[in-house]
């Protein structure tokens, strides 16, 4: 199988059907699976996906009854995925599934890790108030400064990597943090990072998971990665921004 699209969910029953439909539309004609990794949602997101899976064998529902959390959910989804290449995407439709073919194209051109970014020409955020923009900017700068991650959007939850690369670093991932991409980049030290622009869209339904608790968890994760960085090779990969690459075509 070529591609596994993994989406970690918690109380996303209103959105998950729309996400699956959008992914099917984008990926038609390709060899893929959709893995919904659900934290035993009280709104029965996992059961909703199981119903969809009865009609669509490309869809899988993982019901996680312990070790809850966004990072751990992504790690479990990646661990049980069957694709050679794996993508992580939010279920709330804030990530545009339409750029997945472009991200996959970057792999065919030699990328080790492809990250969808809001902060380059062609990308952006909609309906964010100035405080949220500023908080996101601070968090991004901290990650770049402390971890030396050469990404415009290290906070992105929308990215793609090969399964063999994930398996190589899986046992080193703590999975307790909110931003699993940071951990993966810090441990994987990819040689070729590429970024593809997208516009972060407003949530279609349901409630945002962003809270003070999440911000504290992010700061703890950042500190933990910074403290552990001394024993690892510095992430010094060159970044090829897809917008530039595509603009030159």
């Amino acid at each position: 199988m070529k591609l596994s699209v993994i989406s970690p969910t918690y109380n996303e029953s209103e959105n998950v059907g729309l996400l699956i439909a959008a992914l099917e539309q984008t990926l038609q004609g390709m060899d893929y699976e959709i893995v919904i990794s659900d934290d035993d949602s009280p709104d029965l997101t996992w059961a909703h996906v199981e119903e969809i899976a009865k009609r669509n064998p490309r869809v899988r529902a993982l019901r996680r009854t312990s070790n809850h959390g966004l990072g751990a959910s992504v790690v479990d989804g990646f661990s049980l995925a069957r694709g050679e290449v794996m993508a992580c995407i939010d279920a709330d439709l804030q990530h545009d599934p339409g750029i997945l073919p472009k991200m996959l194209e970057e792999f065919d051109q030699g990328a080790d890790l492809v990250v969808a970014t809001r902060y380059m020409p062609g990308g952006g955020t909609t309906n964010w108030n100035p405080f949220r923009r500023f908080a996101s900017w601070i968090a991004t700068q901290m990650a770049r400064l402390l971890l030396g991650v050469p990404l415009l959007d290290p906070m992105s939850g929308y990215f793609m990597l090969r399964q063999k690369d994930f398996l190589r670093v899986r046992n080193e991932l703590d999975g307790q943090g909110f931003k699993i991409l940071l951990e993966i980049v810090a441990h994987m030290a990819p040689r070729s990072l590429r970024e593809v622009p997208y516009t972060f869209r407003p949530r279609v339904a349901g409630q945002s998971k962003l809270s003070a608790k999440v911000i504290v968890a992010y700061l703890r994760q950042l500190w933990w990665l910074y403290a552990g960085r001394r024993g690892r090779p510095h992430v010094a990969a060159g970044v090829d921004h897809a917008s530039k690459a595509h603009a030159s075509k």
Partner: protein, 57 residues
């Protein structure tokens, strides 16, 4: 087999004559990752249980 001890479950509807549903059970919490599966008929009677020590990737 203690199904409840597995923290991840995946249930699928099957097209077989006997097997109507298959439950896949995973435990990825330690280095030694565990995998088991159980086959059920339409009345949710257990037809078969399988256990494997490692999840295959």
């Amino acid at each position: 087999m203690d199904w409840a001890s597995y923290p991840i479950t995946e249930a699928t509807a099957e097209q077989g004559n006997m097997v109507a549903y298959r439950g896949r059970l995973y435990d990825l919490r330690s280095i030694r990752r565990l995998y088991a599966s159980v086959d059920l008929d339409r009345n949710l009677h257990v037809l078969a249980q399988r256990f494997r020590g490692q999840v295959q990737n």
